[in-house]
């Protein structure tokens, strides 16, 4: 084992894990604010369901407004710093706080759990080790640090070394990959901020997948803080 480990060390010597992780984390939030339109398609063995929503983000705060399907049109969700969520249900004219645990099932049986949706940066909650690397992509094994609550035993993230964008995340439970997120069609949003236009999450235990297509992406457009408040949700009435 030792010679192989040494060889791997020599081969990957030019990849500094901490630096790669920091650059990728920084790129994930290299904006003051962000807005985009997302089309979500949930594919369950060929049977599909579609939802469309606008997302506004500033720091850790997010405001999501549903455009489709008709049953959900007008519904809005506010996610505050710290993870508190409030939902506005137009047909009931009510704003309610919703707190879910990490494993809570995603909307429309999507393959994104609360934890998956919330994890855009990894350095704070995970210990990283290098799995392998080429001159274009580095693969890092991320193990949750003590105190980090996670439904996964570990993740293997692939980082594009050109733009420092996370392009793939594999989720492991009991040593087996259970889900795989693939981010593709990377686009330049600002001079130094790159984002995927398509995100595919596959459930590796069953024929089920969710695709997010991101359109109308705009960064640093000066979103007001007042958008990210309960009052803004109530104004949806």
């Amino acid at each position: 084992m030792m010679p192989i480990a040494l060889l791997a060390g020599l081969l990957f010597a030019n990849v500094d894990v901490a630096t790669v992780l920091k650059k990728a984390d920084d790129n994930a939030v290299r904006f003051t604010d962000l807005k985009m339109t997302t089309t979500m398609v949930v594919d369950d063995q060929g049977s599909t369901k579609t939802a469309k929503f606008e997302t506004f983000q500033k720091g850790e705060k997010r405001f999501v407004k549903f455009l489709a399907p008709a049953d959900a049109k007008g519904m809005a969700v506010l996610i505050e710093e710290g993870g508190s969520s409030f939902v506005y249900l137009p047909q009931f004219q009510k704003v309610r706080r919703i707190a879910g645990h990490q494993k809570s099932q995603g909307l429309m049986d999507s393959d994104f759990s609360n934890e998956d949706m919330g994890s855009s940066r990894f350095a704070g909650g995970y210990d990283a080790t290098l799995v392998d690397a080429t001159d274009k992509v580095a693969r890092l094994k991320m193990t949750p640090k003590a105190g980090t609550e996670s439904e996964y035993e570990s993740l293997v993230v692939s980082v594009d070394l050109e733009n420092f964008v996370y392009i793939q995340i594999e989720y492991f439970v009991s040593g087996k990959a259970v889900k795989r997120q693939t981010r593709s069609d990377i686009k330049k949003v600002t001079d130094d901020f790159f984002m995927p236009s398509s995100i595919l999450m596959e459930d590796l235990t069953r024929p089920h997948k969710t695709t997010l297509t991101l359109d109308n992406v705009a960064a640093n457009s000066g979103l007001a803080d007042s958008l990210f408040t309960k009052q803004a949700l109530e104004r949806q009435r």
Binding site: Q45, F86, V87, R96, L107
Partner: protein
Amino acid sequence: MRAWLRYVIWLSLIVVAFGAGRFLVHSPQSLTETTGLAAVDAMTATAKRFALADAALWVVDGGPAGLFRPDALRELAGQTKGLGKTRLCRSVIAITELDDPVSTDEGTEVVPLIPEIPSSDAAMQMLRARVLSRADLVDQLVSSDGQRALVICLLQRPQAEMTWVPASPRLTQWTRVDARATAAMLGGDLQLSAVLMAALALPLMLLLQMYEKRYMRRFSVWGALSLGVMVILSSVVTWRSMLMARDGFATVLGGRAFYAARQLDLVTKTSTTALVTVTGDFTTSSGLRSLEQTCAELGAHGSVACPTDVLRRAASALTGDAVLPATDEQAKQLWFLLGDRPELSLLFTQDRQHALLRLRGKFAAVPGGTKLPASLASLYAISRALRSLVASGLLLAVAGCVAAAWLGRRFKWGSFPLATAFAVTAFACPVAMLSLALLTLSAWTVFASLAATSITMKDLE
């Protein structure tokens, strides 16, 4: 009679007895849907509609001390998590896997029903009280005494790993909630009867040979032929049962499936539960209210687990009020938020046009006109007791046969009446077993027919 011909007959009979059931087990692809009993067909349709046909069920027994102990709960949680990680289940439904939305004035907090295994007795008692206070779970996923829990595994398709059986001795063998499990049970028992007959054949042949020598008559040929008729009859019924069963594996379980059905009954009271399909448009407010009205009407015939309870709980969690949606738009929004939660597939079809009611009671007069014998549970117990008696009778017959053969050889005596009495006893046992099995089958047919009773809104208007 030539010796070789006699051996060929015996060998054929034994091969038929042992092989009849096994043929289809090794050729599962040859299993077809039943086209026979209409009631079983109807039950199958109900099961398919509500994902019951694609569910494997486990009963976890916590023993006399109950499930609400750290080690028992830990084991249950371990098993359900383990199941969830296999490719066998697309979803696992059990008390250890469920969320518990807690509604407050401000909003809703969705927490796991069992967030962690309590370490203190007081905390464990609080958890027990919390779980057993959930009316939608008691007698569905956990027995009212807190001793047993039901684990439902919604199977992946294709079902490539159907032979997976958990290793834990606390888990009973899996079975299905539909009538096919019963057919499988009978198939297994009848298959067993063929095996017993084959076992009986050897000492019987010894005895008949003894009389053949003494009286110079060909008893053994006639004995073999009469036994052969029974074996063939039994094998045909076994084969028929296996056609009705979902797969050969379930059939092979035989008595175990019966035991599993009993265990299931202890948790969910299935023997006194009718599954009633209600048809309507449940995406609308009026459809949901009609469904609730149906539940109320059926309430006169027993206790009803109404699917609208789930919507009330959801409404309570999301809006603070445990009321059904007042408008169609509210109903649609609620359905959108509920999405495709696996537990919903057991209550509503995906198009929300059918709902499944669980009616528990004595069913004196269920709309639709089908009646279920109130003593079905007793019949179940009686049939089991009789079956034990039959098995004991067979064993006694075998023992008597061996004893008679030994005594006959030892003291060189015997009588034709003795041989006749023995033969009658020996053949009566399988006949009794067969009759009993058919009797149980007819009782279950009535049950299946009731269980599959489909009531449309039109019927009730």
